[in-house]
């Protein structure tokens, strides 16, 4: 017996899978966007709105859920390509599961694919899914102190979407304070306050997504 020093994080094998998937999707010209939030922050509602607004793009959705398929049916009713992924009890999606979902979708012609990750602010942040963009949703009723409680989620996200802004009048949510806290953890983070209910702020988010798709398709 000999000793081998590894000093590797357990998620290293996942990182390799994630890099491979990202490269494959880049070759294909498809932008994969990972949506992470607590349950009920408004991921499915936001996606429904985006599907209705971005009619010129071909959109697909991967719905990860511990067991049900309610969200996938909601999305398909809007005419987008959807696939339900059951994580069989697992609290996050990993790159291997995402790659399998991408295979199963057989939808190489899609422009954008959204992955609605399992509702949870901790575990999904630790696993690279292979997505090109990580979006985190925080809804107004959850409170502006979330950056302090879940720093890793804010650090790994490219954009923070503050949802349900139509309810700002009813909660003690300090928007400026939340933005300040998020920027402190991640100075480069893009922030979009939106309401999927009234449509406020949606255009800004949607044009950013379209720009990111164009940038993704420019070969380095």
């Amino acid at each position: 017996m000999r000793i081998i020093q590894l000093n590797a994080t357990v998620t290293d094998s996942n990182l390799r899978d994630a890099e491979a998937l990202r490269e494959q999707m880049k070759q294909n010209g498809t932008l994969l966007i990972n949506l992470m939030s607590s349950p009920g922050s408004g991921k499915t509602t936001l996606l429904s709105r985006i599907i209705r607004d971005l009619k010129d793009l071909k959109l697909g959705v991967m719905e990860a859920d511990i067991a049900s398929d309610v969200d996938a049916r909601r999305i398909e009713a809007l005419g987008a390509r959807a696939i339900q992924v059951h994580t069989s009890g697992m609290c996050h999606m990993d790159a291997g599961m995402t790659a399998a979902a991408w295979e199963a979708m057989e939808a190489r012609a899609l422009d954008l694919i959204f992955l609605e990750n399992v509702g949870n602010l901790i575990c999904p942040a630790e696993y690279d899914t292979g997505a090109a963009l990580n979006l985190m949703l925080l809804s107004v009723p959850e409170g502006d102190d979330k950056p302090l409680k879940y720093p890793l989620m804010f650090q790994t996200s490219d954009a923070l979407v503050i949802t349900k802004t139509d309810s700002l009048d009813y909660f003690n949510f300090d928007l400026d304070k939340c933005v300040e806290r998020a920027k402190k953890l991640n100075p480069g983070i893009e922030i979009f306050p939106v309401s999927a209910k009234t449509g406020e702020g949606m255009a800004g988010l949607e044009s950013w997504l379209t720009q990111r798709l164009a940038a993704w398709r420019v070969r380095p």
Binding site: R2, I4, G89, M90
Partner: protein, 114 residues
């Protein structure tokens, strides 16, 4: 639930390591687990025992878990303190503008193999 995901990745990483280093059997696996990583050691070793028999190089392996103490940084008074003892609130100045410096990780330190 979280333990199962980690164990899956651990088994996969070790399989790859065995292949790259042409190892035939892995013995002791030393894992450093952060105090607040949320990993329950009992669940973890149970999950490991379940998975290892499915990987030939791992079937006689044993897990050794070492704890990494959790340390929190206070951004208000620029000091560190023990997370487990004081939680989110800085014991020096009472500020809540604090975050975890370490104690959240799970690292494979070394393995014994042939």
């Amino acid at each position: 639930m979280h333990e199962m995901g980690i164990v899956l990745h651990l088994a996969k990483t070790l399989d790859q390591t065995a292949e790259e280093n042409k190892l035939t059997a892995i013995g002791r696996v030393v894992l450093q687990v952060g105090e607040v990583s949320g990993i329950m050691t009992e669940l973890f070793t149970d999950a490991w025992d379940y998975f290892k028999v499915r990987h030939p190089v791992l079937k006689d392996s044993t897990l050794v878990l070492e704890t990494i103490p959790a340390v929190t940084w206070c951004d208000h008074c620029k000091q560190t303190y023990e997370t487990v003892k004081y939680g989110k609130t800085c014991p020096y100045c009472g500020s809540g503008e604090t975050w975890l410096l370490r104690g959240n990780e799970c690292v494979i330190k070394e393995i014994e193999a042939e």
